[in-house]
Amino acid sequence: MDLFLTQVVPVRQKLYRFAYRLLGNEEDAQDVTQDVLMKVWSQQEKMTELQNMEAWCMRITRNLALDKIKSKKYRLADELDRAGEVPATQHSPHAIAEKNDVMIKVRQVISELPEKYRTIIQLRDMDGYSYQEIADILELDMNEVKVNLHRARKAVREKLQNIQVYGL
């Protein structure tokens, strides 16, 4: 019980963020996070054997989120719906509009990646996980993580170059 309170409850927000990114929906992300907590709670006896509790929780989150996507034939929220969420800054309206436009495109580039690539980029570049931690979360070999991250970044780079050169 102490382990649950000290190690699982504090990462609740991280799990929620991860679920939200996978599902693109606040309500389902909340459901999945609650399910993860319930599942972790029911498997408390396993906790003492684990080396990285956070990675284990993240792994459960991913599996449950992917199950949900499969079961509901999920449609990820339209990227344009989220365009308004980009926070406004102190720049001129034109600069804001231009920045938002670029952000939408980058967001779209990321969202168009295969799920594995997208998740690896998110875990590495937004959440700051190490290769080993990502390997634990995704149940992959560390070399596989590196290879996939390289491919993912390459794909992103190509798309960004296309946008810059051709405006695609």
């Binding site: 409850v9 929620y16 980009v86 952000m103 967001r107 990321i110 700051g128 390289h150 170059q161």
Partner: protein
């Protein structure tokens, strides 16, 4: 920081060879304004801005304390529940038992009735058979006695014939 260093770092980033610290450095670099940024770096600027934005973006899960599994303390006081607390459960079980008993009794009664009717039917058939046998016996007796009468009548016929013959010969 020198742009050339950043270009080298960025190249390593695309190859997936940078450490977490170096990636943080890149994010920091791109989050600051650089009016004379070389073209080689410009392609990556929006991506790192996006990362920075996502890192700063707060995904706050609304608090729903009732849904979080509440750990049950082992030292919790055990509350004795009265056996009559769930009286409706017991009442339902009792009602079901009574209902089943009643149904079984009804079934038995019906079976008994059917058996009695069958026995009565059998008895009536037996009586009818007996009556038939009795009647048959009586009719046979009558037939036998009637046959006795025909013998005598036959003899009487001979006698009449003989008497007629004698009378005609005289």
């Amino acid at each position: 920081m020198d742009y050339n260093e950043i270009i080298v770092l960025l190249e390593r980033y695309w190859e997936g060879e940078t450490s977490l610290e170096e990636e943080a450095l890149l994010r920091r670099f791109f989050s600051e304004p650089h009016p004379d940024m070389p073209e080689a770096l410009q392609e990556a600027a929006p991506l790192f801005s996006y990362f920075q934005e996502e890192i700063e973006r707060e995904y706050v899960m609304p608090e729903k304390p009732e849904q979080v599994p509440i750990p049950v303390a082992t030292t919790a006081k055990v509350v004795q529940l009265s056996p009559f607390r769930h009286w409706m459960k017991y009442a339902a079980v009792l009602l079901m038992a009574v209902g089943m008993g009643y149904a079984m009794k009804q079934h038995q009664r019906q079976e008994m009735k059917a058996r009695i009717v069958a026995a009565q039917q059998l008895k009536m058939e037996e009586e009818a058979r007996l009556a038939y046998m009795e009647t048959k016996k009586a009719l046979q007796l009558l037939a036998k006695n009637l046959n006795k009468g025909t013998d005598k009548m036959q003899k009487l016929a001979y006698f009449n014939e003989a008497a007629g013959f004698i009378e005609s010969s005289n």
